[in-house]
Amino acid sequence: MLSGLILLFAPQELTGKIQLGFESIFRWPLNLGSNLTLTATTEQTLGDMVPRREFNKLQIHISNLQARLSQQQEDFRKLSALYERYDVWEGADFALAEVITPKVKARRNELTIRYSRNAPVVKDQFVLGNNSVIGTISDASAGTAHVRLFTDPKSAIRVKIGDLDVPMVLMGDGNNAARISLVSTEHKVKVGDIVFASGAGTAFLNTPMTVGKVARCVKNRKKPLVWDITVTPVCDIEKLEDVTVIIMNSQQ
């Protein structure tokens, strides 16, 4: 009785420490018991459970979604970079496409690409690879398209060389290169000059974009007053994994 009275009138800070000391010494069994009770009293409805097979299927689905999310985040990053780089373009849009099969060393120089079905890809749109024009869409259907490379013999793109304000036509030779003819020798052209797709005469490009560079510039044998210019691509088209289609607003 005396002990009880002493404890009752003792400062609560002191008696509180005694209580805490007991709980600290027996922390493990107290915790164990508490967890057991919590588990037993928590309602676990069968509706929250799924069979193991279903669980595995869902796990795989989650992995697929995560991979798709990473891919889309990567695509978004690329598109954002394009928009930032080409912010001078008004009304231009870009569609990312994956290269399925390249045909660079064959008789016909073309790529087969796969793009999102929602993208309005049509014939004659310009295609970029590594920030340079590599060709135009030759046909497109249901998410797949052919890209006629500018090195293809059937390709003809209006270009200009450097700062020269002279209309020229770049025509492919089927040998991973293209030629520009009928350029007067009055104009200074040298090896290494950058060749731009001018976008003249087409609604699919409204700003100059790099196509290639001058690899060879000699006077034409039959017509010495004109240059015989050979242009090669600035990027390794054969190693491209993805390309970008330029979609101008006028087509939407």
Partner: protein, 159 residues
């Protein structure tokens, strides 16, 4: 009286009370049940000692209530019950249930008064729930406790 077994039993009861039953809304008071057991089946002197010891154990796990309140409450009413057992044998289960219920209410109320707990409906309903639950469960735990303590329950002699 086997005091070591008593100590182990009280420790186990304290840990169970605090660890397992604490999360339940309506729970029996194991220490109260042990108090009544020892008051009924031990000698009066042993019953007094055990009552205060059990009260001390109840104080250890009684936070935020200050220590000392349960010790006095359990000690006083445990002692009274031990003396009452000398007059009226409390061997049958209904009597034991009634004893648990009464001691639970009285000891609990005393502890709250000594601890100056603010009187509220929640406080009294909690005391009542615990007393009722202990009274229902308690008589069934007497036999296992007697087995642990090696005390024969069929002794009719009064001490």
């Amino acid at each position: 009286m086997r005091w070591f077994r008593f100590a182990v039993l009280i420790l186990a009861g304290t840990i169970l009370q605090k660890g397992v039953f604490e999360r339940l809304h309506t729970r029996p008071d194991l220490l109260l049940i042990l108090l009544v057991f020892f008051a009924v089946y031990c000698s009066t002197s042993d019953a007094i000692i055990t009552s205060f010891a059990i009260g001390f154990a109840a104080d250890l796990i009684g936070s935020p209530m200050p220590m000392g309140a349960h010790m006095i409450g359990f000690g006083v009413f445990g002692t009274l019950l031990a003396y009452l057992n000398r007059v009226i044998a409390i061997k049958r289960m209904p009597h034991q249930a009634l004893a648990i219920f009464a001691v639970g209410l009285l000891a609990g109320a005393t502890a709250c008064l000594l601890a100056r707990e603010s009187a509220s409906t929640g406080l009294y309903s909690g005391l009542l729930r615990t007393a009722v639950c202990s009274a229902i469960v308690g008589p069934f735990l007497m036999a296992p406790v007697a087995w642990c303590m090696h005390i024969k329950m069929n002794r009719s002699s009064r001490r």
